[in-house]
Symmetry: C2
Subunit: 157 residues, 2 copies
């Protein structure tokens, strides 16, 4: 069985002592708010390091690992992409990072959010204008459908 993986294996002898510091993926999930599925996925994509394993191949998470999961969780809740989060984690762990780099990353994401918010507000506005023009009286006549069905524009967007 996979003897050439790089993570350290916690041998049974040491299990008693180490169980106090390490927890299984289920507990890591509970304590971080990240599902076990996603924890494994983050590991597979390199966002998380390969953690320790028991002799039975169970993953073992340290406090530090769990803090990293929480970091990722919070970054996700701010809408950062996985790629951005990978950069954030790397900055976080780099003691000689520049806070300017972090802020640039954040502002890049803010600009991205602004774009998407604006697009959705435009959709929202257009739709709402159509909806208030609709009598909604049970008749087939409907300005919303009429607007979608305009015939003339013979050009690609």
């Amino acid at each position: 069985m996979k003897s050439q993986t790089s993570h350290k294996v916690i041998v049974p002898d040491a299990a008693g002592a180490l169980r106090r510091q390490y927890c299984n993926i289920g507990d890591a999930s509970l304590r971080s708010g990240v599902s076990s599925k996603m924890i494994r996925h983050y590991e597979a994509t390199g966002l998380l390091p390969e953690v320790h394993r028991t002799a039975a191949n169970y993953r073992l998470y340290s406090e530090e690992d769990i803090n990293q999961l929480r970091f990722i969780k919070r970054a996700r809740s701010l809408g950062f992409s996985m790629k951005q989060i990978a950069r954030l984690v790397s900055l976080w762990q780099n003691k000689s990072r520049s806070n300017a780099d972090v802020r640039n990353l954040a502002m890049e994401h803010v600009a991205d959010l602004d774009t998407r918010i604006r697009e959705m507000q435009e959709m929202r506005h257009a739709l709402h204008v159509l909806a208030v023009r609709c009598h909604a009286d049970g008749e087939p006549e409907c300005p919303i459908l009429d607007s979608l069905a305009v015939e003339y524009p013979d050009r690609a967007d």
Copy 2:
């Protein structure tokens, strides 16, 4: 070869006459603004009917087909999902539809947009607050990372 498909085949005899009314997928794409890829995809998922084919199995699009593509294109640009668009198309083609149904569908989507806009505005706000607190002076000290790295919250979200 696939003799049991349901679409009508335009036989070569009729080709001359029908070429004036029908166009290939590339032209349909240009005239509707929907990529050929997506036109085929919409057909595969049942959003579009199976169109006519030439004897060589090329798809042929009528004016009506192209209008339906434009309808879909505009609904997409308003952010409706494919499922919602399927409902919209079906209402559009139902001459005894109720405009109340259409407006309900639209308002459902408006509510959805509102939710997503609000979520993104909250992210945007939180991030911006952090970003303006960051000196961005090249030092490692960074309130953005600090905020992501808070240690205490030992609970699932």
